[in-house]
Each structure stands twice: as structure tokens, then as C-alpha cells.
């Protein structure tokens, strides 16, 4: 998708989002006795978002808005892999524990970002991916007293 298309899409979505905020704001209540209720500010914010996004939509349609280069396919793929790796790691945390989940995520991210050829890379990456979470675990759990999630295997 070109960056202009994306701009159009986001502006349109933001208009809908703004309208939804107005809707929820009405549900929360405009006033609470003599004072503004929980809904007044959502309504103001929602209207601003909808209105300003309408202007942005108009600008995007008219081609007034000049944007930088879009996201290249390679870059989008890399970012996608990194984000997916992280989300999967978070999802796996209750089963594997935070330390192992982090190790796997690190290895996956490292592989996605690989620039140097040769087998040395794998050794270094494996070392980094194993050592960092162990240090972090010791730092956070033992020194800072943070109860990091453990997996089914007990660590």
C-alpha cells in the first residue's frame, strides 16, 4: 500500500474513531449535577479528532499533504517479524516463563536483522540470546525483587 493510501485510510478511520468517542461520551453522561460529567471531555476530544481528521482526509484527497517515502517491503517485513516475535513471546510467557520466551524472541529478532554472513553470527547471536535474559532475570528477580513469570517447568 502506498503511503498516500495509508494516509487516507488512517484519516478515515480516525473520523470514525472520533464519532465513536462522541457516542461513548454521550453514554458516560455530559453533566453530573452542576459539574462536567465523565462524558464531556470524550465528546470534546472526539469532535476535535473527527473534525481535524476530516480536514486531513480532504488534504490527503487533494494531494496537498507531502509525505516522506513509504515503507519498503523489506522493512515492513522485518518490522512485522520483530513485532510478531515479541507478541508470540508474550503469549508464550505463561507456559515457558519469561526468561525462555525472551531468549526465543531475541534469537528470532536477531535472525531477522542478520546482516553479516557466516556461521560465526549464529554462535554470537545464540550466546547473546542466552546470556542477556539470564542477566536480566538475576537483575530483576534477585536484585530488584520483581516476581518475573515462571513457566510450567519452574523457571
Amino acid at each position: 500500500m502506498s503511503v498516500q493510501r495509508l494516509d487516507l485510510l488512517v484519516a478515515a478511520l480516525l473520523i470514525i474513531f472520533g464519532l465513536w468517542l462522541i457516542y461513548t461520551g454521550i453514554g458516560y453522561g455530559l453533566m453530573q449535577g452542576t459539574t462536567p460529567g465523565a462524558g464531556l471531555f470524550p465528546i470534546i476530544i472526539g469532535s476535535s479528532i473527527a473534525l481535524l481528521s476530516a480536514i486531513n482526509l480532504y488534504r490527503a484527497l487533494g494531494g496537498v499533504e507531502k509525505l516522506g517515502p513509504g515503507i519498503s517491503g523489506r522493512e515492513a517485513a522485518k518490522a512485522g517479524v520483530v513485532i510478531a516475535a515479541l507478541l508470540i513471546a508474550v503469549w508464550l510467557t505463561p507456559y515457558l516463563g519469561m526468561m525462555i520466551a525472551t531468549m526465543l524472541a531475541m534469537a528470532a529478532i536477531g535472525l531477522a536483522l542478520r546482516t553479516e554472513p557466516g556461521p560465526v553470527f549464529f554462535v554470537k547471536l545464540a550466546a547473546v540470546s542466552v546470556i542477556t535474559p539470564i542477566i536480566l532475570l538475576l537483575l530483576f528477580q534477585n536484585l530488584l525483587g520483581v516476581p518475573t513469570p515462571r513457566g510450567l517447568l519452574g523457571f
Partner: protein
Amino acid sequence: METLALLWDGILAATDPAIFACTILGAVVGLLIGALPGLGPTAGVAIMLPVAAGFGGVAAIACLGGVYYGSMFGGAITSILLGIPGDAPSVMTVIDGYPMAQKGEAGRALGTSVFASFVGGLLGIAGLVALSVPVSRYALAFGPTEMTAMMCFALSLLSVLGGRNAFKGFVALALGLWLGMVGLDPISALPRYTGGSMNLFDGLDFSIVAVGLFGLTAIFTSLEANVDKPVAKYTFASLLPRMSDAVQTRWQLLQGSVLGFFVGVLPGVGASAATMLSYALAKRLSPTPEKYGTGIVEGVAAPEAANNSASYGAMIPLFTLGIPGSATTAVMMGGLIMIGLQPGPLLFTENPQFVWSVFGSFAIGNLALVFLTLLLTPLLAAALFVPTAYLYPIVIAIVVYGVFAIDNSTFNVMLTILAGGAGIILARLDYPAVPLILGLVLGPLLERNIRRTLIQSQGDLLVFIERPIALGLFIATVLVLSIPLFLKLTGRKKIAADEAEV
């Protein structure tokens, strides 16, 4: 002069080896916790509380204080090197610090931040010892009405931070204001936008969004950067701080320190807002505002001076009135109680020696931190030589643990990742991240104080102009907004960001 003598005695008392050791311990822990993304001064002081309480007396509070201002030093490190705010009050440091590091001036930026932290700390301590009594009276004069006016004034100053397209800047601000509403509405007791999840009941922690939107987005959008930009661009000389920068940024340092101090004193406002105001003010007053955000030392000096002096300002209500004005000072107050002192207006008169020794330890710790961080600077900056295929996994792992530790919640980690992902789209489409963060910090303060004021006045809007401080701030707001417009209309001066092509 009597004050100086008392402070000098305090400093001498604080050189006691045990107290000195505890001060340094606190400072080092603070430095570390400040540098860890997500964890900030509040978490740091809370983590050290049980340990420090064991030291007892002056040493305990010297240690906790060390954690507090140490984390203000440390927060800048990851902000500059990686674009990841180490804690909430160092978000603004990212704006110029990170571009400097990308230009190969990491050492200069770090050096500036250390020096700015030191000056901010020094002036903050001076304010703390010399002005605490009158200043605490000024803090009490700020009720909900004045706070509302203050927030309007802040937003008017901050409008300069919009970005290229003003419309998108305001959309980003509105989105930030919306994010600030998530959670239990404290005025009506209605949960808003929580989706029924108790994870969102307390609202979004500012650090969670900031770390994602600044830090992870910076990583996600530079995944390809290293392919065509060789790391060898950095030389060792660029990792060293420069003394001349300190002279060059003297005005930003002074402004930032004074502003940070007075904003820090106000209960409930905090150091993050202080850094935002300081940065905005520096940009407003600059003859070349367009350079801000491109990586200049002034842009690092202003917020870093402010967050350090704000941390001392925040301690004034605690020491003079027994009122904790921020989450961090609330934990410090817990520390005072745990060592058997009763924080309150009588603390100064009943335990003068204790208070002055603690202040003395602040002076010593502040100086010690300069040497500690300057020694560390080249070492830390060298992290940039590590290829991204190793560096980014390590950094992301640290972020994951750091964000988790904020509330021991993997849900927050998920939010940070999503914020990072959303940040890519926002960045590509020119929606600036800074106004969004501002909205998140200032929005709740604005909304709640307006509503508090109107509960007090039973809906009467006139109170906003009946009270002198509020009226003064509103007039200042109008001036700040209208003067640039006036100058522009008469063609005398151009103000960046106000001149978005429409």
C-alpha cells in the same frame, strides 16, 4: 548566611563514611534504574525502601534521595543512545538527544545531559535550602482553579512542539488526551475505555506508552538503517563530552533549572510536565527554533536541567509541610515514617540536624554522580558500535523486563509492543509523537482540575477569573498564543511549527 552555615554543617555531617557509602549506593542504584527503560524514580525508591530503612536515620533518607536524583541522571542515557526514554521525565531528552547520537555525537549529548543534570541539581538544592519555606507557601496557593489555569498556560507554550502539519499535531494531541482518559474516572467513579479489563482500571502508565512510542518505534523504523549506514562513522573522539557545550547552553540550563524547580514544587504535577515546559520554553525563546529536534545540545540541556531541579522542588512540600506531592515523595515519606520520624511542618524545627545532613548528602551525591556518569559516558556510548543484529535483541529484552516490572504485568508489555507498532504508522504519516505524549501527561491534570474546580464552585465558571493567580496565568496564556501571531502578521519574526502550510 545562616542557611549556608547550616548547609555546610550538613555537608560535613554527610561525609561520615557510613552516610557517604549509603548516598553513593543510592545514587548508583538510581542511575541503573533510571537507565532501565520503564522503571523510573518511583519504582527505584520503592525497591530500595526496605533496604534503606535498614540503614536507619540520615543514611536511609540519603540513600533514597540518591535513588531519586540518580535516576534523573540515568534516565537520559538510554534516551540519548537508543531513543528509549529511561523513565518518564527523560522523554523530552529523546527529541534532541537521539538525533545527536545518530549524528555520531552521543558523547556530546551525554556530556551535556550530565552537566545539565548537575546544574539543575545544584540550583535545585540551592532552592531547597534557601527558599523552601516561602516556596511551600506558593505551592499551597495552587488549588484546582490555579492548576487548571497552569495547564492551559502549559498547553499554550507547548503548541510550539506540533510538528510539520498542525492539523496532524492536534490530532496526535487529542489522541494523547484520549489515552489519558482510559481507566477509572476519578471524579465520577466510572471506568472509561477499559473494555472491562482490570488491567486498564488504573489507567495507562505514561512510561508504557512513551517507551513504546519513542523507543520501540525508533527501533522498528531503523531495522533497515544499518544496511546502508556503516557503524564505522563514529569515532572515539565523538564519544567524549565537550566543555564548550556547557557554556553554550548556559541560558537553557538556567531557565530549565528555575522552571523545573517551581513546577516540581506543585503537588501532583511532577517532573515530566516540568521537562516539557522547559523544552518548550527554550524553543519559544530561541532565535532559531527550527533547529530544535534536529539534535542540538540546547535541546538536551533544557529538559535535563529541569528534571533534576524538579526532583528537589518536589521534596519541598515533603520536608517543610509533610505533604508528598508526587508518587516518589510519597514513598520517601514512607521511608521517613519507617525510620521513626514524623514528617510534617515540625520536621525542620524538631530534627534540624537530620534535615540538614540529608540536604548535605544531596549536595555530595549530586557531585559524585557527575564523576560517575562522566567516567561511564564513553563506555556507554560505545554500545553504538555493536551491530544492530545483536544490539536490538538485547535492547528489546531489556525493554520487555523493564516494562514488565512497572506493574509486574505482561499485559503492559503487550501494550508497549502495540504502541511501538502504532508508532511506525504515525511516524510515516507525519503524526508527531510528542504532542500525543504531552496529551497523555497533561490531559488528566487538566480534566480533573477543571472538574474539581466546578465541584467547588457548584458550576460557576467565574471562579476562573476571580482568583488572581489563575487570572494571571490565563492572561499569560492569551499572550503566549497571540504574540507570535501578531509578530507573524506584522512580518517581524517567524516562529517554527506555527507556520504549517495550510
